[in-house]
């Protein structure tokens, strides 16, 4: 198909002409204003031109092609205002269904598919010889013009135009009423993106196949949904028992329950800690040492990343001396470590820093 990466309004028309030259360009550039000014004007105007062409009015070779183009341009200028934004971005990918539909529409518009295609091909495919073009166009146009009466033809045209206006809402993806289509399409997209975690190529292919929901809003909406579902997958791995659940709502409920249970657990544990807190005085250091020893067995390299230089430097002493029995020596080392931490400017807690004088007051309470 010829001009593929062009604007949306001229797509179906471009489908019709294969690598068309100046003639179809004339039709394209001259027609939209003409057809946009009055959509039914061209269809009403169609019959005299065809009749004139059938009667041998082919001295100016642009007229037959325009006569060919009248139905097509009136069709596509109908939905051109609706599908302006974002349509040109995905035009090459979404060409095929669109172009097929456009060709089918033109043919359908002209009454019979073969005849319509033959008309268009004859009118615009061979552009090296203008006279031949006009002759072919006249030959192709004449059976259609002869077969129907002019008034019946105009009625047929109007009917076809209306049919085309209704057609996108039913099956095709091109429509001038974009918003309705977008909503239904978004639900469809949501289902599909929910069911299958589409990789990037598949995602693009899906968008191309639909061809329509490519304005910026639905694109952004789709990106947002992708992000949300990706994060949901991330959350699904975290929350236990969430793997078997399909369905976002149930999963979110499960996540909420989990967060709530964790917060309640924190509250419960802090209650417990409050009860044991009075006799915590020395034990904190013990537990701290124990915790550090337990966790140090697994992640020695990760401690090296931490800014606790003095902290991890003293740990081997702890593990060497204090693990079997808790003698008072490690506590004093821990105290000094805490003081070291405070003195080296542990900046992530300024409030405690301000209310806390490091040297004198920590020692008697520990």
């Amino acid at each position: 198909m010829g001009g593929e990466s062009n604007e949306g309004g001229e797509m179906g028309f471009k489908h019709g002409d294969d690598e068309s030259g100046g003639i179809s360009r004339v039709g394209i550039t001259s027609m939209p204003l003409y057809a946009k000014a009055d959509p039914f004007f061209s269809s009403a105007d169609w019959d005299p031109v065809v009749n004139a062409a059938a009667a041998g009015f082919s001295s100016s070779h642009y007229h037959p092609s325009m006569a060919m183009d009248n139905p097509g341009m009136s069709c596509f200028s109908h939905y051109q205002p609706g599908s302006v934004s974002g349509f040109a971005a995905d035009m090459p990918a979404s060409l095929l269904p669109f172009g097929d539909c456009g060709g089918g529409q033109i043919g359908h518009f002209l009454g019979s598919d073969k005849k319509g295609e033959r008309l268009i091909r004859a009118g615009e495919s061979s552009h090296e010889d203008h006279h031949q073009v006009s002759d072919d166009a006249v030959l192709g146009a004449s059976p259609v013009g002869k077969r129907r009466l002019p008034e019946a033809e105009s009625q047929w045209n109007k009917k076809a135009v209306e049919e085309f206006q209704e057609d996108p809402q039913r099956g095709n993806d091109q429509s001038q009423k974009k918003h309705k289509n977008d909503q239904s399409k978004e639900t469809v997209n949501k289902e599909s993106s929910q069911s299958e975690e589409a990789p990037k190529e598949n995602y693009i292919h899906m968008r191309a196949r639909r061809g329509q929901a490519t304005n910026s809003h639905s694109l952004a909406e789709r990106v947002r949904r992708e992000k949300i579902s990706e994060r949901m997958r991330l959350l699904q791995e975290l929350v236990p028992g969430c793997n078997k659940i399909t369905g976002k709502a149930v999963m979110l409920d499960e996540i909420i329950n989990y967060v709530q249970s964790l917060q309640q657990q924190v509250e419960f544990l802090s209650m417990k800690l409050a009860t044991v807190n009075p006799e915590i005085n020395i034990d904190i250091d013990r537990i701290l040492a124990k915790d550090l020893l337990q966790s140090r067995d697994r992640n020695t390299p990760t401690l090296g990343l931490n800014p606790f230089a003095g902290f991890q430097g003293n740990i081997p002493n702890l593990s060497a001396t204090t693990n079997p029995q808790y003698n008072p020596l490690p506590q004093t080392t821990l105290e000094s470590e805490l003081q070291n931490l405070y003195q080296m400017g542990f900046v992530s807690n300024p409030s405690t820093m301000s209310s806390f004088s490091p040297n004198g007051r920590l020692k008697p309470e520990l």
Binding site: R231, A249, D253, Y258, E267, P278, L292, P307
Partner: protein, 156 residues
């Protein structure tokens, strides 16, 4: 916590970092309030809970995360109150949701999640999910640390 700043996505510092921060804030707490009188139990529980959250937020990277920043800000703000989670821009998010008519079930659940995660009121939904993932990791880590503490202390 410079190390936590550089961690990608929802990685979480190790357990000893949480333990260290929590014990540190506990010792601070004990320094400030000796807890001699037993009738202050509720107060003590609140203090410890707040210390747990704040130390968790600090261990999780200070202000690099939205939820930890919100938690720390809230904790600085009301030093004597319970740690509550603000929902600052709730109206904006709900209006946006209503105008676009998104999937109502997911958005409603996300709205409930916004009340749970600190600072979640102003987040977009995808950001909320990410922060929730990190928050869950940190919270479970904190729970482990506290459980360890309680287990270590209770036999006494």
């Amino acid at each position: 916590m410079a190390s936590a700043d550089k961690l990608i996505n929802t990685d979480v510092p190790e357990k000893d970092v949480f333990a260290f921060h929590f014990l540190q804030s506990l010792s601070n707490l004990r320094k400030q309030n000796p807890f001699d009188t037993p009738d202050q139990k509720n107060y003590r529980v609140r203090k410890i809970k707040k210390a747990a959250y704040v130390s968790m937020a600090r261990a999780a990277g200070g202000s690099s995360r939205l939820w930890s920043r919100a938690l720390l800000r809230r904790a600085d703000k009301d030093d004597n109150k319970i740690v509550r989670f603000s929902r600052r821009k709730w109206k904006i998010s709900s209006k946006r949701r209503r105008s676009n008519q998104r999937a109502p079930v997911v958005e409603e659940a996300a709205e409930r999640l916004r009340n749970l995660v600190p600072g979640g009121g102003g987040m977009e939904t995808s950001k909320l999910m990410e922060e929730t993932a990190h928050y869950i990791k940190c919270l479970s880590m904190q729970v482990k640390v506290m459980q360890c503490l309680v287990d270590g202390l209770s036999p006494k």
